[in-house]
């Protein structure tokens, strides 16, 4: 299989810069997920690697060989599209074997490869059907089969699960992870769904407005986000942010006053902060406790409760904060209208400076 390297990749459509100086290394056999909100350039980046779009500037290398001038088919990649992009007038077998037919492989070898791929994906009994006679999940598998048949160096996936229903999506997620292990392949996967990113990736690339915000293992992004954007994007429900001001900076620490007057002391964290800076204090919903915390507490009135049995989502609001989400394990007897105190610890909270970067 293969490793990929992107060097100073830029892409411009007219005057609009959609990809800005992206540098990225994908290791052999790695499962890399590009994640970000819609319009962040993640699909464009994938299409640049695939060769479906031309680079404005920069270089793309696979196994040390520069490939950005090659035609899509010559790059040794295979791509699975969001809409599956199956050829409607071909049977499943014809769909899967099309690339090999174009490459003029002999029929026996095409049949063999198609059958092998169909076996991996449990599609053997559907080989003679047209795509319209298949369910969404089966169509998705055909699209993946079409990629497998080509035995590519790298698999590219462009939001392949977004057209499936929730249950099937979870099942396909696990199947894809299994497939990644079975094929020992390098895979690049684009999604806007951070749960897909967290569950499948070896490495996540978070993009915003064509810029790489952070690259790292899923839990590294969760535990040590570089900035407010990554902190807010990774994790579900999203992190709660509270506006505040630096009210004091001292040796190896800072004191923050939130807009409701709560005073928080951050030992060991002051970065380049100075008194009067606008900062944001972040706590993940699952890191709040419904009791006064060791390092501090916030107050709010409950306006909605979602009880799922094993877990409870509590939505609070206060004068200074429109929404605070708390995710508690187990069933909590909180009622709408209750005023509750929620606690946090400094070890599990975050501070973002005026530039949005994490204060460390």
């Amino acid at each position: 299989m293969a490793n990929i390297e992107l060097r100073d990749v830029n892409k411009q459509f007219g005057d609009v810069k959609v990809i800005k100086d992206v540098n990225l290394a994908v290791e052999d056999n790695e499962f890399v997920v590009f994640v970000g909100p819609s319009g962040c350039g993640k699909s464009t980046l994938l299409r640049l690697i695939a060769g479906l779009e031309d680079l404005t500037t920069g270089e793309i290398h696979i196994d040390g060989e520069r490939i950005d001038h090659l035609a899509p088919a010559s790059r040794g990649l295979a791509m699975v599209f969001q809409s599956y992009a199956l050829y409607p007038h071909f049977t499943v077998a014809q769909n899967m074997g099309y690339a090999l037919r174009v490459a003029r492989e002999d029929k026996a070898s095409i049949d063999k490869k198609v059958y092998e791929a169909a076996e991996i994906l449990q599609l053997t009994e559907y080989l003679d059907r047209k795509p319209k006679a298949l369910s969404g999940g089966q169509r998705q598998r055909v699209a993946i089969g079409r990629a497998i048949v080509r035995n590519p160096k790298v698999f590219l996936f462009d939001e392949p699960l977004s057209n499936l229903d929730a249950k099937l999506r979870v099942a396909m997620r696990i199947e894809l992870t299994k497939l990644h292990r079975a094929l020992n392949a390098t895979m690049i996967y684009v999604t806007h769904d951070q749960i897909e990113a967290m569950t499948m990736a070896d490495k996540i690339v978070v993009l915003r407005d064509g810029i790489v915000e952070q690259i790292g293992a899923p839990l590294d992004l969760y535990n040590t986000p570089d900035n407010r954007f990554v902190a807010g994007f990774i994790g579900s429900p999203a992190m709660n942010f509270f506006k505040g001001k630096v009210s004091g900076v001292h040796e190896g620490g800072a004191e923050i006053t939130l807009s409701d007057g709560t005073l928080i002391n951050f030992p060991g964290k002051n970065g380049t902060l100075s008194v009067g800076d606008n900062v944001e204090f972040g706590v993940r919903p699952e890191h709040f406790s419904i009791e006064p915390g060791a390092d501090g507490s916030l107050r709010g009135e409950v306006y909605a409760v979602e009880r799922l049995g094993g877990e409870t989502y509590i939505y609070l609001s206060s004068d200074s904060q429109k929404e605070i989400v708390v995710h508690a394990t187990g069933d909590h007897r909180v009622a709408v209208g209750d005023r509750v105190e929620i606690g946090f610890t400094i070890a599990q909270s975050y501070l973002f400076g005026p530039d949005g970067q994490s204060v460390r």
């Binding site: 899509p72 174009v102 490459a103």
Partner: protein, 277 residues
Amino acid sequence: MEKKRNAGLETWLMHIFLVGTALAVLYPIFMMVMSGFKTNAEIFGAPFALPKSFNFDNYIVIWNTTDVPRYLLNSTIVTLISVFVLLITGTMAAYAISRYRFRGSIMVSLFFLAGLMLPLRLAIIPLFVQLKAMGLVDNLLGLIFIYTAMSLPSTVFILTGFLRALPGELEDSARMDGASELRIMVQIMVPLITPAMVIAGIYNAVPIWNDFFFPLIFIQTPENKTLAQGLTSFFGEYSVNFGVLYAGLTLAALPLVVVFIVQSKRFIAGMTAGAIK
């Protein structure tokens, strides 16, 4: 319950309307076919009665003593070749306009649209001069050129709409599979718009087959005449024999009716494409 009864009534009214319309359209055709089996005396004696016997005397007369077989052949040649060339060039033009971004693509599509707005008959004199210079007057090839050019705008217009609606990911996917641009067009995209091609084909074949004007201007010798033009000679020579004229008209209408019936499923599929997913 009340609502259901209303819905039933609506369906009935709709059916009555549809049956009425169908009758209004079919009755003249029925009259034409029936009159083709009658003698002149029968036609004038009892115009609306069924023929006394269904014999093919009139058709035998047409086949053996007139040039109608020749006209039929000429019309078939002109229509088939025109539509064939039309669909190939029209599909290629529509494909370029709808699937590629290139400098001047809007100008090209406007050029075709302009063809829809200008009646070719207005240009008959320059056209005649041009064809004469090319040596194509009184030549079926001249008609084929005119018909192909005349029908291109509507064909490009119809096919562009269908081709635009095809998802770009299909093309991308074929590109990833290593297919060349020509191969993508021929093997992947064009097979998906066959209903539209049937529409464009029939839509243009009917006026070409029925056309009277251009053969009248450009064709002089009897052996090059087309059917619509040739049948007018009956008005002179056989003005007494309406039975033979009707038989000739039936013969003229038959091929297109057959084509339409054979292709009607695709035609309707094309007409309703996009209505439901």
